[in-house]
């Protein structure tokens, strides 16, 4: 099983390798402490059963970025986050958060990191306010004298002021999620890690969380937000990392991911052989024939010219389109079709 996990996404790894290579100058682990909020090198987590949950992941999250950490459920996102927060110990490899090695630096650095991991968790028998007091009291660096005002402000930011005295067990799912975000905002942070912050939220709640992320990022705080839906982070992210079967198969700026969406030309014709010849003559690479449809990378070619050439060569053209894959299609291409069938 793990063998399969190791070999399957090789082509993808190569794809991302190219991108990582481009960025090496900026994000190499050497100057990580200054440039990167999160840096990991060959970070690996193997569970006791032998299953590799996280496989040699090299994260590079620039300071001040909004980093969308994408991948289907079970691709190793949460395990990675747990290692970044010192909750789980890596099998091999290393990770740095805000320039401090983890998990050794847990108590030194985490007070500057706000987090939401795998859904909100609070005491059901305490009020939202008392729950925040509890987490705040556990923080060695939090100042008791300002606790009241800080908690009040955090609750106000997420719109829970009115429900502050309500027992947590009576909160709706959206309120619980917002309370968790409030707890991540209790003290000034340099980095906020949000694991699936919109899980289980209605569209309204999703929009609210997105607005909050944008607001936090606007203050210069690095935001690391994981999701299994590209659409959820696409609008707020500056950078993305894509996980598949424990491996980081793409990492870079969102714009870069967009650029990899190379447009293709699709020609529908009865005379495929002749058409392929024409496309090859024009220098179009990677032509694929399925029944009466030919697709090829458009490259720098001009579609109008292709049409003219095809007609000139006497190829009966039934249809000709230029297709650019959407980001979503790219994402699915990177992560597989889903349902964890590959595990």
């Amino acid at each position: 099983m793990s063998e399969q996990a190791n070999s399957a996404p090789d082509s993808m790894a190569e794809l991302s390798g190219a991108h990582l290579g481009d960025k090496r100058g900026v994000v190499s682990p050497g100057d990580s402490s200054a440039e990167l909020a999160i840096a990991s090198s060959a970070l690996t987590k193997r569970f006791r059963g032998g299953q590799v949950a996280v496989d040699r992941v090299d994260l590079a999250v620039p300071r001040g970025s909004v980093y969308g950490f994408l991948g289907p459920n079970g691709s190793g996102k949460t395990t990675t986050i747990r290692m970044l927060l010192g909750l789980a110990f890596p099998t091999s490899g290393s990770a740095e958060v805000l320039g401090v090695p983890m998990p050794e630096g847990t108590t030194r650095v985490l007070s500057r990191v706000g987090s939401l991991v795998e859904g909100p968790a609070f005491y059901p028998y305490l009020s939202g306010w008392d729950n925040l007091v509890r987490y705040d009291a556990a923080d060695r660096t939090a100042v008791a004298a300002t606790a009241k005002s800080r908690i009040g402000e955090a609750l106000e930011r997420v719109g829970l002021t009115a429900a502050a005295k309500k027992k947590f067990r009576n909160y709706s799912l959206g309120m619980k999620q917002r309370l968790a975000i409030a707890s991540a905002l209790l003290v000034p942070r340099d980095l906020i890690i949000l694991d699936e912050p919109t899980n289980g939220l209605d569209p309204q709640g999703t929009r609210e969380v997105r607005a909050l992320v944008r607001q936090i990022a606007g203050e210069g705080i690095t935001v690391f937000v994981s999701s299994h839906l590209l659409a959820e982070v696409e609008q707020v992210s500056t950078h993305v990392g894509v996980m598949r079967l424990g491996k980081l198969v793409f990492q870079g700026e969102l714009a870069e991911l967009r650029r990899t969406a190379a447009p293709r030309i699709a020609v529908r014709t009865s005379d495929t052989v002749a058409a392929v010849e024409v496309l090859a003559k024009l220098g179009l690479a990677d032509s694929v024939v399925t029944d009466d449809l030919i697709t090829a990378e458009l490259g720098d070619a001009v579609p109008e010219k292709i049409t003219a050439e095809l007609v000139h060569a006497g190829v009966g053209v039934r249809g000709l389109t230029v297709e650019a894959p959407s980001l979503e299609e790219l994402f699915v291409g990177l992560t597989g079709e889903g349902f964890d069938v590959e595990r």
Binding site: G86, L87, T107, V117, E118, A121, A137
Partner: protein, 317 residues
């Protein structure tokens, strides 16, 4: 994208000011001030933990139930005691010697109550809180947030155990005090005749009550360490609570099988009841020290296990 990349804060500050007031400047000041601040922060965490433990409805009910026992025992003994006599025997022939002393003096209800409650009720009161301490946090998922705060793994464990000890001491003293008040109300008070036959003043008798209560506190604190250690191995608090109580019952069963006599001194419950040597003059200190040593060894052993486990395992809940 570019707008996001522009930090809106001055570089070098510990954090981006979400709240406009000044907390940034108060973080990690000078070394001397920092250690005092650290102690204050630790106390704040501990106080908060205590408040949550003592204000939790379930725990309050436990204390209430524990308090009912000395009341019931007192009433039961009053009803069964022969009238006017000084040498009546209490119910349950196998019970401790001091049952017989009860009719003469209410102070002895403390010892009767503690020895009866030590069999199961006090271990339940302590075991529920201690067994729940880590497992309960894991079960709720709050453990990962406390560690991400970061509370610090060793620090969290220390606060948990300190809370357990305070809880055990409180429960023991409440039982002891309620039994004393109830005993005096039902049987009167006066000079106390100890098990060795000597009679001491009421004030001296109360000092004996205090020593006995403290001894039981030590026993329960040691048991709390066992339950805490078990609690670090699971995220089901009910499992940890049950396991710790099974240890108590199993130990008590083994104690009562003569063939196992050689292992008796090493059983966790063996020395719990040894406080009756405090009710004699001169006090048999050898037994007491053996008991206290046993508690210390058990506490140290299981706290080490708890620490080793808790600081090295992944938090997956």
């Amino acid at each position: 994208m570019s707008s996001v990349n522009e930090p809106s804060v001055s570089p070098g500050s510990a954090g981006v000011a979400l709240a406009d007031p000044p907390p940034t400047s108060q973080r990690g000041s000078g070394t001397g001030g920092a250690s005092a601040a650290a102690v204050r922060a630790d106390l704040r965490y501990f106080t908060n933990e205590l408040r949550i433990t003592f204000f939790r409805r379930r725990n309050q009910l436990l204390l209430l139930v524990a308090v009912l026992f000395p009341l019931l025992i007192g009433i039961g003994l009053k009803l069964s005691a022969p009238h006017g006599g000084g040498g009546g025997r209490g119910p349950g022939a196998g019970g401790a010697q001091y049952f017989s002393q009860l009719a003469g003096n209410g102070v002895f209800l403390t010892f009767v109550a503690l020895s009866l409650l030590l069999i199961l009720v006090l271990p339940v009161v302590v075991g529920v809180v201690a067994g729940d301490s880590i497992a309960g946090e894991a079960g709720y998922g709050t453990l990962r947030y406390l560690l991400a705060v970061p509370a610090g793994r060793t620090r969290l464990l220390a606060v948990k155990y300190a809370t357990i000890v305070v809880w055990a001491v409180t429960a023991t003293f409440i039982v002891s005090i309620v039994a004393l008040v109830m005993g005096v109300a039902l049987f009167g008070a006066g000079p106390v005749t100890l098990l060795s036959g000597t009679t001491v003043s009421l004030a001296d008798g109360l000092v004996h009550v205090l020593w006995v209560t403290l001894y039981v506190c030590a026993a329960m604190a040691a048991f709390g360490a066992i339950a805490l250690a078990i609690s670090t191995f699971t995220e089901h608090s009910i499992g940890a609570i049950a396991a710790s109580l099974i240890i108590v019952v199993a130990s008590e069963v083994v104690e009562n099988i003569p063939q196992f006599a050689p292992v008796n001194p090493y059983l966790p419950t063996n020395w719990w009841m040894s406080f009756d040597s405090l009710l004699r003059t001169p006090i048999d200190t050898t037994t007491l020290w053996h008991g206290l040593l046993s508690f210390a060894v058990y506490a140290a052993l299981f706290l080490s296990i708890a620490w080793a486990r808790f600081t090295s395992s992944d938090v997956t809940s």
